[in-house]
């Protein structure tokens, strides 16, 4: 065979797209972690079958696998993995662009784990239809009861995500829609698996540098996707449409005792862009999640006591409200900027919407001083301690790096990138990427409050929040008149309140949609 022939053969044997990718983290902890990232998530749900990606991920474990005559059922799997710890029972995490199946097992049983769990689960799923019915029922129950009626904050956050990406494959909850979930059948699971669960679509993360172990995992997943089914046509999600002007969606709950406030618009950058880092430093100052370092938190919660917290984001933050730090393995090719004021008393909702909007506008106008930039950079370094806290996070982050194609990776390069940011870059990024005029708002409130809130949203007159009495300012009665004895810091607060009150949102009533909670997430269209 000539060299030319060898080269041709090599080309013919090469995989059509990319080969299976493995990333590792050298750790000698007693449990080895394995994470299998599939490059398909809820954005790959075919139209009308929203929930297919989530059900496929869940059914790998729940729907039995292996030999159809002697299947490994979910019960057998639970018994088999029981002595090895809770995390040995596999879990699937479905996000917009990825599904990550993750587990860990004691090092001494890793080989057995791969043979008896990892390989058959990923290459021989059975998708038992009875189990599909059960899992579907549980997901629908969560959608109808938990997400819509019990978790006012998660409801608003998910709704904003849908609204910002309206009209794109991002515009539904990762778990699916009510109608889509009802249409998924076993055939659809097989087709989705065939289309996306393929070695060239996979990145595996392993917390070990043991070459034999890595090779074994590589071989174990090599047979993924080999089932008889018609693949779906792969779709690449399109970018969200630009937002023009301001609009609001008001969602009515039957029993809310407070009102949640959200706003956002698509952001044309992700963490792999150079501009991400100066914008990140800006956002650390303006709205760090669940941290009193945040400016929004300071002015709305700390100074005025309106609510539990107020934040801003330049990337989607999964797992709110509980998570203190952004979870990993939810990468996206399209991101959005967002504002979140946690629930406030109903009567203050329109005023706080104005506050959020004015504060964002003011942040863009004034930018940050050198001192504020330095403090924000210092805070960003502190956040790193939590972002990189555990081996699990470090490994998960390497999968995200593979998704984004980041070199050095997000965490390995984090401190150097933060250090390199100049205040000039921060202020330029604020001007380039942040704006307050084209924005989608989401309000989650109680049914009987809607009319008043819409009046406040659409009004061109001042809309006030707390009054001096609410700030516990001393009052002196003189000649039948009230004299407020306002100390200087409180005077600043009152002045700023007046500025907020006089910042109309410029949202005419025709730009406000009202939707009952029960109608959200029926389909991927916003009702």
């Amino acid at each position: 065979m000539t060299m030319r022939q060898i080269l041709i053969l090599a080309v013919l044997l090469a995989p059509s797209a990319r080969a299976l990718e493995v990333v590792t983290l050298d750790s000698k902890a007693p449990l080895v972690k394995i994470k299998v990232m599939v490059r398909a998530g809820s954005a790959s749900d075919p139209p009308g079958l929203e929930g297919l990606a989530a059900l496929t991920g869940a059914m790998l474990r729940e729907g039995s696998f292996g030999d159809p005559l002697h299947p490994v059922t979910k019960e057998k799997l639970a018994d088999l993995t029981r002595p090895w710890g809770t995390a040995a029972y596999p879990n699937a995490q479905v996000a917009k662009e990825t599904t990550v199946i993750h587990f860990s097992a004691p090092r001494e049983v890793a080989d057995r784990y791969i043979d008896e769990v990892l390989r058959p689960m990923l290459t021989k799923p059975l998708f038992n239809p009875k189990e599909l019915e059960r899992v579907r029922g549980e997901v629908l129950q969560y959608l109808r009861s938990g997400l819509r009626l019990e978790e006012i904050e998660n409801f608003g956050l998910t709704s904003l995500d849908n609204v910002v990406f309206e009209g794109t494959p991002y515009a539904h909850w990762d778990g699916g829609t009510e109608k889509g979930l009802l249409k998924v059948d076993r055939e659809a699971l097989l087709r989705f698996y065939k289309t996306h669960y393929r070695p060239e679509n996979i990145t595996v993360g392993v917390s070990s540098n043991d070459k034999a172990l890595i090779e074994k995992i590589r071989n174990a997943v090599a047979g993924m996707g080999e089932v008889k089914a018609e693949p779906y046509e792969s779709q690449v999600p399109q970018a969200p449409a630009a937002v023009h002007g301001r609009s609001a969606l008001v969602i009515e709950l039957p029993n809310a005792i407070s009102t949640g406030l959200h706003a956002g618009y698509p952001l044309p950058l992700t963490r792999k862009d150079a501009d991400f880092w100066p914008l990140y430093i800006a956002n650390v100052w303006f709205g760090t999640h669940r941290d009193d370092f945040s400016h929004l938190y300071h002015v709305i919660r700390e100074e005025r006591g309106y609510n539990y917290g107020d934040y801003s984001y330049i990337e989607h933050f999964e797992g709110r409200p509980e998570n203190l730090f952004p979870p990993l393995n939810v990468p996206r090719r399209y991101q959005y900027f967002s504002l979140w004021a946690r629930p406030v008393a109903h009567q203050f909702a329109p005023h706080i919407l104005r506050a959020l909007t004015w504060e964002l506008g003011n942040f863009i106008r004034t930018g940050l001083t050198e001192e504020e930039c330095a403090l924000s950079k210092n805070k960003a370094k502190i956040l790193y301690l939590s972002f990189a806290e555990t081996a699990d996070r470090l490994l998960a982050s390497r999968l995200d790096d593979a998704y984004y194609g980041m070199e050095p990776g997000y965490l390995p390069g984090y401190l150097a990138r933060v250090d390199a940011v100049t205040c000039g870059q921060v202020n330029a990024a604020i001007k380039k990427y942040l704006q307050a005029k084209d924005m989608k708002y989401v309000v989650v409130t109680k049914k009987g409050e809607t009319a008043k809130i819409i009046e406040g949203i659409a009004s061109e007159a001042p809309v006030w929040g707390k009054d001096p009495h609410d700030y516990n300012i001393d009052v002196k009665e003189e000649d039948g008149r009230k004299l407020y004895l306002v100390p200087q810091p409180k005077l600043d607060i009152l002045r700023r309140d007046a500025v907020w009150a006089n910042e109309p949102l410029d949202i005419p009533k025709q730009n406000v949609r009202v939707v009952p909670a029960e109608k959200m997430f029926e389909t991927s269209a916003i009702p």
Binding site: K28, E75, R82, T86, P343, L415, P489
Partner: protein, 458 residues
């Protein structure tokens, strides 16, 4: 530099996989303050600085003023450091720290995280707010708004109401009878409780009722040298015990909770449990209850969620550690049910689910007689050990686990004793725990269902 070191950190630190892998060094100051240091040098430059106050909502004895322990957790962040309003927070933000805290029935836990180079600065700030808190009434009142916001954000979740009812029925004569958040009306009234809140601080924020746990890239001697002088002028004072004001309730108590939105129904079965005596077979057996009852391989999960499909989910309301308490507390098994099934079958559906849960708990009374009990116990002990080791994933997590168990006997070997008590269990120990406590007179059963006319309130 720091990135690399953190990654390397995870290569070591597992010298002994059989027990708690880190030495714990302890110093007790003359005023009774315990300082524990866990050296984890592989987590280079990381400083986890934790202050555990041995008082939470379980000390709130004043009626109409529930939620003060949690409110006080918030207030500690408003400390006027060096005489300046907001001075503590300002100094923390200038130094740089992730700074948060939480409150529960027995504990209020403060856990800043920063770089080791900030040890002296952080110790100064932390000692200042714990030993000599300076606040003013107006800032206190503003912060009560944030606490009210914290209540409101979860108010649409019926679990809060269920917790309020279940604790009230379990502990009508003890502060455990209300949630850590407190009743809604009390939270609304918090601005009026400045004096009561200050009294709570004066009574319970005392060095003899506090433990400081420092973990990470630190040297014990340096920590003791830095912290000792800063905390030594904090005055000790006897801490009054909380006593149950009346007899333990008795009799099988059942109640229906009505809810005002069309949510999935729930069934809760709760039992009063013993005080947690670290190292005892009883406490060891209690540690395994989640695995014996509600994990994916456990009988309740298999029966209710898989076989009969009565429930869409089953768990312990407070997670696995809810009953680890200095005084007798409770285990609460909660099941989320299906509204369609309730509509079709009515109350018989609730009765069936409750009976299955009660039967599942009762089955543990003869656990040792079930086939393969000894082998099953070994499997569960193995799982416990791996889960314990998995939890030791960072200085912050290690300090938290240490603090959680250290409080029971103030022995630095507490975690080894805990592991030992679990590994030495015999099947009969499970029987005994179940026989002694899963009794009808210790039980409270709640159901929750949508009723269009329901109104929320206290």
């Amino acid at each position: 530099m720091k990135t690399l070191s953190l990654i390397l950190a995870l290569c070591s630190g597992w010298a002994s996989a059989g027990a708690f892998p880190y030495p714990v060094k302890k110093k007790t100051l003359p005023n009774g303050l315990d300082i524990l240091v866990i050296e984890m040098p592989e987590f280079k430059d990381v400083l986890s600085y934790n202050t555990m106050v041995l008082a939470g909502s379980g000390k709130e004895e004043q009626r109409g003023a529930t939620g003060l322990a949690h409110l006080f957790e918030h207030i500690l962040f408003t400390h006027r450091f060096k005489g300046k309003d907001g001075g503590y927070n300002d100094a923390i933000n200038r130094m740089g720290a992730d700074n948060n805290a939480w409150t529960w029935f027995d504990i209020t836990y403060y856990h800043p995280l920063t770089f080791t180079s900030n040890l002296a600065g952080l110790a100064l700030l932390e000692s200042s707010r714990f030993k000599a808190l300076s606040i003013n009434e107006k800032i206190f009142q503003t912060e009560t708004g944030a606490v009210l916001g914290e209540y409101r954000k979860v108010a649409s979740n019926p679990s809060m109401k269920m917790e309020e009812r279940v604790y009230d029925l379990l502990y009508p004569n003890h502060p455990y009878g209300h949630t850590t958040m407190g009743y809604y009306d009390d939270v609304i009234d918090m601005p009026k409780h400045y004096e009561a809140a200050k009294k709570f601080y004066d009574t319970y924020y005392r060095p003899n009722g506090v433990v400081v746990v420092v973990a990470g890239d630190v040297k014990a001697e340096e920590v003791f040298k830095t912290l000792g002088p800063l905390y030594s002028d904090w005055k000790a004072q006897p801490i009054p015990p909380v006593k149950e004001k009346g007899p333990e309730p008795s009799g099988d108590r059942r109640e229906r909770v009505a809810w005002d939105s069309d949510i999935a129904p729930q069934a809760w079965v709760a039992y009063r449990m013993p005080a947690f005596k670290l190292g005892s077979p009883e406490a060891g057996a209690a540690e395994l209850l989640d695995e014996l009852l509600i994990s994916p391989a456990a009988p309740l999960q298999k029966k209710l969620r898989y076989e009969k499909q009565t429930a869409s989910g089953i768990g312990f309301d407070e997670g696995t550690n809810g009953f680890e308490s200095a005084e007798p507390r409770a285990i609460i098994v909660s099941a989320e049910l299906f509204k369609e099934k309730l509509a079709a079958k009515g109350d018989a559906y609730f009765d069936d689910a409750i009976k299955d849960i009660e039967d599942g708990l009762d089955a543990l009374k003869s656990f040792s007689k079930s086939p393969g009990a000894a082998d099953l116990l070994k499997v569960i002990q193995s799982k416990y050990r791996y889960d314990f080791l998995s939890g030791l994933s960072s200085p912050r997590n290690v300090a938290n686990v240490m603090a959680q168990y250290y409080r029971f006997n103030r022995d630095p070997q507490a975690l080894d004793q805990l592991l030992d008590s679990v590994q030495k269990l015999k099947p009969e120990d499970i029987d005994r725990l179940a026989q002694n406590y899963f009794r009808p007179e210790n039980r409270v059963v709640l159901t929750l269902a949508f009723e269009p006319s329901a109104k929320k309130g206290k």
